[in-house]
């Protein structure tokens, strides 16, 4: 924006309406879908709208909205980066001063993937601090002479994380004076965000699955599956949607069903993906509420927490909080 010598006041003029519109849309998409779309019809609008969206988000002064927006932009970047070639990825990584080089290693006989890059391990550690998956642990990587070997997709994922942190920092600017019409748009976006808050809370559940916090119904279903016992259709749906909502990956859920005698990988994957909101339907399902589960005979009987809630996911959230506050006492004993 500075380079184009754009004055903040000019944003009010009709000339910039398409840019401001797109900026608004970016934030809206972040709020609703947690993902900014990749439409790239007009480069200038796309490029200019980004810093304006950043200013608008910063002006909203809501830490949760900031976090969500940064994440949504990072996801957009990831989706675009995945399509770029290796040279471009290298170029972008260098913008962030990464110690990165193309991997000169060929695919070894015991390796499952071909590596495209070797990244300095400190850059790797800085950008994986928020990742929970086992494959991102340093101990599970091929590390040699200070470099961590990565596929192109993995490199794109790490750059996206760098971008997320970068945007979050930018969103901390204070003392912005925006023209009135933009201030108005910001307050409309804030209202949208507060309406979406409940749904977002579900989405942003901690990524680590805490079995100890499962409600009795889910615990029962989970144990049944683990020991190869069959459960009803409603039961399977409840379990699958519950696990996906508390952050389990599609792969892990599919693996869970593997012990069943009639396991069919293709079918199971299709169904799990559907519930996750991937295949065809864009909706991510949430588990049925307690009342419905009771109707279908899935509820094994209530415990103390059950009496205070109406939904298995609320149970999980509540129990997590309890476990968290109790943890230090338990470990001290």
């Amino acid at each position: 924006v500075k380079a184009l010598d754009l004055k903040i006041d000019e944003l009010a003029s009709p000339e910039y309406a398409p840019v401001v519109n797109r900026a608004e849309k970016r934030i809206e998409e972040a709020i609703i879908y947690a993902l900014v779309s990749e439409r790239l019809q007009k480069d200038e609008i796309e490029i200019l709208s980004f810093p304006i969206a950043v200013m608008m988000t910063a002006a909203a002064k809501d830490p949760f909205l900031k976090r969500r927006y940064a994440l949504a932009e990072a996801k957009r970047a990831y989706n675009l980066l995945k399509l770029e070639n290796k040279e471009k990825i290298m170029e972008i990584a260098k913008v962030f001063n990464w110690k990165i080089k193309p991997s000169e290693r060929q695919k070894a006989p015991t390796e499952t993937a071909t590596y495209d890059f070797a990244l300095g391990f400190v850059d790797f550690l800085r950008n994986t601090a928020n990742f929970r998956e086992k494959k991102w642990k340093l101990v599970n990587r091929l590390v040699h002479k200070g470099h961590v070997y990565l596929t192109k997709d993995e490199a794109a994922r790490l750059i996206a994380e760098e971008i997320r942190v970068h945007i979050e920092k930018k969103l901390d600017v204070k003392g912005l004076a925006l023209p009135e019409n933009i201030v108005k748009r910001v307050s409309v976006l804030k209202q949208l965000f507060s309406r979406q808050r409940g749904k977002i809370r579900l989405e942003e559940m901690p990524k680590e699955v805490v079995i100890a916090a499962f409600p009795p119904c889910i615990k029962e279903l989970y144990n049944a599956i683990l020991s190869g016992r069959h459960s009803s259709h409603v039961g399977r749906f409840a379990l699958t949607s519950f696990l996906l909502n508390i952050g389990m990956t599609v792969d892990n859920v599919v693996d869970l069903f593997r012990t069943l005698s009639d396991f069919n990988e293709r079918m199971t994957r299709y169904q799990v993906e559907h519930i996750a909101g991937g295949k065809g339907s864009r909706t991510k399902y949430i588990p049925p509420k307690c009342e419905t589960l009771r109707t279908h005979g899935v509820c094994p009987g209530m415990d103390e927490i059950c009496r205070k809630i109406r939904h298995p996911l609320s149970y999980y959230r509540r129990k997590l909080r309890i476990l968290k506050t109790k943890a230090p006492v338990a470990s001290g004993a």
């Binding site: 101990v139 590390v143 200070g146």
Partner: protein
């Protein structure tokens, strides 16, 4: 003789040491940005948040205070003298502590003792969870820096350095290694790149070194193939560890890790073929009756063998205080000694760390196992008066295993 006189004797000797040797005490790099701390011998209190501008200031303080232990921070601060929150953290060196306490050695039972602080019940080896007499959980532990323990600490150190250089690409030029003066080694890495790495990132380094959270599948172990001996990183370490483990493991040990009888038989029947297989693709898929589950159990042992047993807390703590080189260890009277990394194999801690090479002292020893200081072996002793070289005498006095026996201990 009383406890107080023993303490005064130690203090006098430590004082002499700092008078004579203070010029050998080299401050760490960027000393003005570091915090220093001293445990005072007489008062048993910790003086923290000290800072010095010049080596001379530091040396003068050591001479004046005569601390039982002297430390400096691995961290660099804008204002090292302020309270923790106000210091202004700028970064920290990467440090590793390898202590025999974290390595189970067969000799611990022979020389380590514990005393319940409540009812004074004593026992050998590592203390139990609860005192068998009074159920209290606080113990005073007495651990000996014996040769076996120190040797195993050295082996772990060698493994650590191997991983840091080969895998993480750190140069030995960025490292300094020291014998702590008691039961272990400190490895100190000063690297610009790592300087500002937070504790989460350092925890990942720790997990790498100790093999915590390692998933063999992510290193290529599956039903048909597995890692190979000359692979890089943990992949190769898994293969080499598996090779060594299978070479040395007895059927009993294999049973202990949960392998079935049939599996163990197959493994021993095909021992030759397994050894041979490493020339090609390894033994992973070739032995009938040894499946992925069994290999996973074997790999788990291989990982344990290859990992270096470091103190996980020290490395992740970015405010840690570390003992200053060439200062004395209050539990032994030995000095923290610089170890040349290239000559670590030949390094003899019990000889190099002797701080009092002259004179003798006569002491009354309540109990001590056989031990070595310098070239000489001493003990075992039990309730007896002995005249010992000064370093050995101070060692027992500092350990609390002896009292000073007469005033004019002979001075040459």
């Amino acid at each position: 003789m009383t406890k107080i006189e023993t303490k005064a004797f130690i203090q006098a000797k430590f004082g002499e040491y700092y008078e004579k040797n203070s010029t050998n005490i080299q401050p760490p790099s960027s000393m003005e940005k570091r915090e220093f701390g001293f445990l005072l011998l007489k008062e048993r209190i910790m003086l923290r948040h000290k800072s010095f501008k010049t080596p001379q200031e530091l040396r003068d303080s050591l001479k004046r205070l005569i601390p039982s232990n002297a430390y400096y921070s691995s961290a660099y601060y804008e204002r090292p003298e302020e309270e923790m929150e106000e210091k202004g953290w700028l970064g920290a060196d990467l440090i590793f502590d390898i202590d025999a306490d974290h390595i189970p050695t067969p000799c611990a039972k022979a020389h380590d003792t514990w005393t319940c602080t409540n009812c004074k019940t004593t026992g050998r080896g590592t203390p139990p969870e609860k005192c068998p007499t009074c159920n209290e959980q606080k113990f005073e532990e007495k651990a000996w820096p014996c040769e076996v323990c120190l040797e195993s600490a050295k082996e772990e150190t060698i493994k650590l350095i191997d991983m840091l250089t080969k895998d993480l690409g750190l140069s030995t030029k960025e490292m300094s290694l020291g014998f702590s003066g008691h039961r272990g080694y400190h490895l100190h890495v000063e690297s610009k790149e790592i300087l500002t790495l937070d504790s989460i990132g350092r925890k990942e380094i720790v997990d790498y070194i100790v093999g915590i959270g390692l998933e063999p599948q992510l290193h290529g172990l599956c039903r048909i193939v597995g890692p190979n001996l000359d692979d890089f990183g943990w992949r190769g370490r898994i293969a080499r560890g598996t090779y060594e483990y299978l070479l040395s493991a007895t059927p009993k040990q294999l049973e202990k890790i949960g392998l079935r009888k049939g599996t163990i038989q197959s493994l021993s029947k095909h021992k030759e073929r397994i050894l041979e297989s490493w020339k090609y693709k390894g033994p992973w898929a070739m032995i009938r009756g040894v499946g992925l589950e069994s290999w996973s159990k074997i790999v788990e042992q291989a990982v344990k063998k290859q990992a270096a047993k470091i103190d996980t807390v020290v490395t992740t703590d970015v405010h840690r205080l570390i003992r200053l080189t060439n200062t004395l260890h209050g539990k032994t009277g030995l000095k923290k000694t610089e170890v040349p990394i290239t000559a670590i194999e030949e390094f003899d801690p019990l000889k190099s760390a002797v701080a009092f090479p002259h004179d003798t002292a006569t002491i009354f020893v309540s109990e001590a196992p056989k031990f070595r200081i310098g070239n000489e072996f001493h003990g075992p002793y039990r309730n007896e008066k002995v005249e010992l070289p000064m370093a050995a005498a101070l060692f027992l006095l500092c350990k609390g295993a002896a009292k000073i026996a007469e005033e004019g201990s002979s001075v040459r």
